[in-house]
């Protein structure tokens, strides 16, 4: 009888178990990174626990060039996000709203960066820059990042614009809104969740991109992923774990904040 009750209980909460297991599976690497950020390794490699230390957290920039690379990564990610979001939103509106020559090929090509292996894209873009004799560096990385972020923004925004009732804009015009006001007051706010999703996705994939960046970076432009890759060859400083942990925490914080904001908004209305 008791066994049956237990089975029943387990069966009812199976979904919860699955969710907990998935969560556990996904966060375990991050937890390891977090733990080892408090380690003081014996040698140059931070792979086995030695003893607890706050050194890395109190002196995060003590490792030569690491903080410069983090700063570069952030700059690239912010600019790539802005560029891709503006350009991508415009492309999405054009594709969703207008019929023009070349619309079908553009719709298809927009998918390409998402479907193509990064290494192919990185290499071909690198070849292009080389042939055009453009100096590799900050701008070539930025151009590359905007390119692969673009498809994510277009996809997210286009879906939102397509599902929008055209009568909403007509209603705005009917209520004395000029075309500009209609766009700013009605179209843009309704498309905003799609635009925000595209921007967040852009930032996330830009900041951790390694392969494409590797092909398009100059000798003095080292992004954080490139720094980690380089450092891993000769020994990983603990500070890398600190930066990794910070990135993870910022991401978690954003998600939690978003959830809370959504919940209070729902509760208020």
């Amino acid at each position: 009888m008791i066994v049956l009750n237990w089975l029943h209980w387990i069966r009812r909460h199976l979904v919860v178990f699955a969710a907990i297991a998935a969560l556990f599976y996904m966060t375990i690497p991050n937890v390891i990174v977090l733990i080892f950020s408090f380690n003081q390794p014996k040698g140059r490699f931070n792979y086995s626990w030695n003893h607890f230390s706050l050194d890395a957290w109190t002196h995060p920039c003590d490792v030569g060039d690491m903080c410069t690379s983090v700063s570069l990564s952030l700059q690239i990610a912010v600019l790539a996000t802005i560029g891709a979001t503006i350009l991508g939103t415009m492309v999405a509106f054009a594709l969703a709203r207008y019929r023009f020559r070349g619309r079908a090929p553009v719709t298809g090509l927009i998918w390409l960066p998402m479907a193509m292996p990064e290494i192919v894209m990185g290499a071909s873009l690198g070849t292009l820059f080389l042939n055009m004799r453009i100096q590799f560096g900050f701008w070539t990385i930025l151009i590359a990042h905007i390119m692969f972020c673009l498809s994510f923004v277009v996809t997210a925004v286009k879906a939102r614009v397509m599902s929008m009732d055209p009568r909403l804009e007509q209603a705005a015009q009917d209520l004395y809104a000029t075309p500009t006001q209609t766009f700013l007051r009605v179209t843009l706010p309704i498309a905003a969740p799609g635009i925000a999703a595209g921007a967040l996705l852009s930032f996330a994939i830009s900041i951790d991109d390694f392969i494409i960046t590797q092909f398009n970076a100059g000798p003095s432009t080292v992004t954080f992923p490139m720094f980690v890759w380089g450092a891993a060859q000769k020994g990983l400083p603990v500070q890398v774990n600190v930066i990794g942990t910070l990135m993870f925490l910022v991401a978690v914080l954003c998600v939690v904040a978003g959830q809370l904001l959504g919940r209070t908004r729902k509760a208020r209305s």
Partner: protein, 390 residues
């Protein structure tokens, strides 16, 4: 009304009451499809005007041309004494209640209603918005989002959002289509009340003839991009001038008859071996002796008697004999379908005052009515035009 100035808010802000709408030779075509045939129409100031027709008859297109959401292929639109044909929607002194309302999903009730005022640069909207929400009985829900409202509430927000701007003309595009029957009846009276209160010209597009008759002062029945007939509801119902109007607005029995002569103010008709009388003044067709006409009569005007009682039918009434093929009891009345040799499926509505229990399917009956209730139509039309297929 002053001359149109550069400020778009000028015309509607100064409007105290409704303006007349004058359409002149207006038409709309898409490629080789003609949605609206060239039509002239004057909607009097302050009236409740209905455009009635089946879907695809051009009524919504006509409405959208008044709003400026559709550009006419030809013709002009005037509101009051201002030609607005070339003006974009945001510069016209009209507001629309859209089908399915088109409320802004990202704004709450208050901001939806305030939208038009804010776009016209009015700073202190609080008093007006609150008054308007009170008028539509939504004063207690200003912070709800549209998706948290019921259909009836959404409908009232849509009306408030349009009315608050005191437009010269309010356009309503099937505003009650999404509501259930009971709520629809309630909102019909509500809209009528609001219209009487504010005195703005209402132009109401609907496919529901009962709705049009309940609310409107004047109805224009549209069919295939044309206005078939225009008039007061009772006038349209009693004196249809085409088979489309006769069948679309309520139900009609149409009998093909031959003119055999005239007597005083009446035309004498023969149907098979029977005789009918039709007041000449009520015939839309100018028929000569020997011509065919369609004699029409509404189902509720007809009395039904058992064939055994044929002798009790007074003289001078129009008579038709037939056999009941269907009788359905619907509470206040019983609807009979009677087959007669000259008119199949004759519909008769009999009030259930004193029910004759002998009147069951298969019974031979005499149908009779006052000749004054007969109307005449041109026999060259499609006799079934406008019939609503059940």
């Amino acid at each position: 009304m002053t001359q149109q100035t550069t400020a778009p808010a000028e015309p509607q802000a100064s409007a105290a009451s409704g303006g007349a709408v004058t359409l002149t030779g207006i038409s709309k075509t898409w490629g080789d499809f003609t949605a609206v045939q060239p039509l002239d129409l004057t909607i009097p100031e302050g009236s409740f005007f209905a455009l009635l027709g089946a879907s695809g008859c051009g009524k919504t297109t006509t409405l959208r041309m008044i709003a400026g959401l559709e550009e006419p292929t030809a013709g002009t639109v005037r509101i009051g004494d201002q030609d607005v044909t070339g003006l974009p929607p945001h510069k016209r002194p009209v507001n629309t209640v859209f089908q399915n309302y088109a409320l802004f999903p990202h704004l709450d009730v208050y901001e939806n209603v305030a939208f038009g005022l804010r776009r016209r640069g009015i700073k202190s909207v609080k008093k007006q918005v609150e008054d308007m929400l009170e008028l539509v009985e939504l004063g207690h829900l200003p912070r709800r989002k549209p998706h948290q409202l019921s259909g009836g509430q959404q409908q009232r927000v849509a009306v408030a959002r349009a009315l608050i701007n005191r437009p010269q003309v309010l356009l309503l595009d099937e505003p009650l289509g999404a509501l259930d029957l009971k709520l629809r009846r309630q909102m019909q009276l509500e809209l009528k009340r609001i219209q009487t209160e504010v005195g703005i010209t209402f132009v109401h597009v609907t496919h529901d003839q009962e709705e049009a008759m309940t609310m409107a002062d004047t109805i224009a029945v549209m069919n295939a991009g044309r206005i078939e007939q225009l008039g007061a509801p009772a006038d349209l119902y009693e004196n249809p001038t085409s088979t489309f109007v006769a069948n679309f607005l309520g139900q009609s029995n149409l009998i093909e008859a031959q003119v055999t002569g005239s007597s005083g103010d009446d035309l004498l008709l023969s149907v098979g071996d029977g005789r009918l009388t039709l007041p000449t003044a009520r015939s839309a067709a100018t028929a000569q002796i020997g011509d065919k006409v369609l004699a029409g009569v509404r189902p509720e005007k007809i009395s039904i008697a058992h064939a055994d009682d044929a002798a009790t039918v007074p003289d001078g009434r129009n008579k038709i004999t037939g056999r009941i093929i269907d009788a359905s009891f619907i509470g206040v009345s019983t609807q009979y379908v009677v087959n007669s040799p000259w008119c199949p499926e004759f519909a008769v509505f009999a009030q259930n005052v004193e029910r004759d229990t002998r009147l069951t399917p298969g019974t031979e009956v005499v149908l009779h009515w006052n000749p004054a209730h007969t109307f005449g139509l041109d026999a060259t039309q499609d006799i079934e035009a406008g019939e609503v297929s059940a």
